[in-house]
């Protein structure tokens, strides 16, 4: 579903992605973790071309991003993206946040789009908030709406870029629960997160990055019990018991 082959990216002199080779199969849930500045956010943002790659080959849902003829808008319509800062549209109601793209891109009529949006809101437990504006919602609620907005395009892949990092601790659970349900339903997912509980319980594979390279790629069980690379060992120690 997603295939990186020798992908490189530079921000000026900074080599943010260094020879990335990675595959994600349909229905697979992959967690990407690593210290800040390791390139994990950049990695996930290249998948829907929010950050274009400089070198190598990247094929997503059968479309080649390194090919200039690929219709990027069409590709993005097939991929849901959930941001750390939610990025809901503050001037629109919850319902309109969700129905905008299906109406404009999928050409659904308003009624169908709204029915579909209500089903999604039901799924993330926010049906009663349909006419609220984003500023009237808590962070956790906003992020659940953002997930519903991503799902409204019936995407083949859902990408999450640190979806719980901007949330108060008591709201993290509700968002992770929605993501877990989504994973169980068979969605192909790539998640940048520090929530190791989620990685352990839900993901099929953990990718550990540092300094723009993938240092380790393993099943969660193995990654947590027996990390191979000492950078990964150090990272896990810090994140699992930050006081020591």
């Amino acid at each position: 579903m997603i295939r990186f082959e020798g992908v490189h990216k530079w921000f000026g002199p900074l080599h943010v992605l260094n020879n990335i080779n990675l595959r994600v199969k349909p229905g697979e849930v992959v967690v990407v973790c690593g210290p800040s500045g390791s390139g994990k956010s950049t990695l996930i943002r290249t998948i829907n071309d929010l950050e274009p790659i400089n070198e190598g080959k990247l094929v997503v849902a059968g479309m080649d991003l390194s090919d200039r003829k690929t219709d990027i808008n069409k590709l993005r319509a097939e991929i849901g993206f959930v941001f750390q800062q939610f990025n809901l549209y503050p001037h629109l109601t919850v319902l309109k946040n969700i129905t905008l793209a299906p109406i404009k891109i999928r050409k659904l009529d308003r009624k169908t789009a709204e029915e579909q949006a209500m089903a999604l809101l039901e799924r993330v437990g926010l049906a009663e908030k349909r006419n609220a504006h984003p500023s009237q919602l808590s962070g956790g609620q906003q992020q659940r709406v953002a997930i519903a907005r991503g799902l409204a395009m019936k995407p083949k892949i859902m990408l999450f870029d640190e979806p719980t990092s901007a949330l108060d601790p008591e709201m993290i659970g509700e968002v992770l629960q929605v993501m877990k349900d989504l994973a169980v339903s068979g969605m192909t997912m790539m998640v940048v997160t520090h929530e190791m509980g989620f990685a352990r319980e839900v993901s099929h594979r953990v990718v550990f990055m540092d300094h723009g390279t993938v240092l380790e790629e393993a099943e969660p069980e193995e990654f947590f019990k027996n990390p191979q690379h000492d950078r990964a060992q150090q990272f896990l120690k810090q994140i699992l018991s930050p006081m020591h």
Binding site: K74, K104, Q136
Partner: protein, 233 residues
């Protein structure tokens, strides 16, 4: 008589100050001042929106081209632009353009270039995440601008637009130089005719300009408060 000043000259011809020779003749005075300001503002809004959008274009040629136009006009005194339009436009269009329309064109060009900066700042003031969220759902950059960025940006710009309107009301007074009978021109006429009351006449129109500008400034403050309140909830 107020403090040794004799305002009879003003009271006697009050309708002339406000409407010129209207309805028997063409509109003048305060009426024409507002007419020039409102029409020019409306056109400048459209012009400023177009220039502002071009100046944030992702195409460099368009971006630089529009910036060049904006900077050139901003680098000229308004009076120059008015002269240019007054002498240039009729000869370009083969004559027959009323002076008031050359002034409207000049005001529109001038204010559009200022408005475009307001539009540009308004657009750039919307967080990048908004565009990213929109395009990540498959919307094109144009659709993102139309449905997500502009509605938010325009709302933030409303107070600046009203301020621009206040400047516009004052700028219309320059139209007197090409003989358009707006408020300042009417005052000059009256003064030339009577010769004895320049203080009274110009004091009177100063008060009128002040009232107009003050009213619109207050409107802009009120709008600003209202928008801040709406944002807070």
């Amino acid at each position: 008589m107020i403090g040794g000043l004799d305002f009879t000259v003003v009271w006697k011809d009050l309708p002339y100050f406000f409407l010129g020779r209207y309805p028997k003749g063409p509109l003048g005075g305060v009426g024409l001042t507002l007419y020039l300001a409102v029409v020019s503002l409306f056109l400048s809004f459209i012009g400023g929106l177009i220039l502002g959008l071009l100046s944030v274009s992702r195409n460099r040629l368009i971006k630089w081209g529009s910036s060049a136009v904006i900077q050139t006009i901003r680098g000229m005194p308004l009076l120059m632009v008015i002269f240019w339009m007054f002498f240039l436009l009729p000869s370009l269009l083969g004559g027959g353009m009323p002076a008031s329309w050359t002034v409207i064109t000049a005001l529109t060009l001038f204010t559009s270039s200022y408005m475009s900066e307001i539009v540009r700042a308004g657009i750039l003031g919307i967080p990048k995440g908004q565009t990213e969220a929109a395009i990540s759902t498959g919307l094109s950059h144009r659709q993102a601008m139309l449905h997500i960025i502009l509605p938010q940006a325009l709302r933030n710009m409303i107070p600046s637009f009203v301020n621009q309107f206040v400047s516009m009301i004052k700028d219309t007074s320059l139209a007197f130089i090409v003989g358009v009978s707006e408020l300042t021109q009417v005052a000059t006429q009256m003064n030339n005719r009577t010769m004895l009351y320049p203080t009274e006449i110009f004091l009177f129109i100063a008060v009128i300009y002040f009232i107009l500008c003050f009213a619109f400034t207050e409107l802009s403050r009120w709008l600003e408060r209202r928008l801040a309140y709406q944002k807070a909830i």
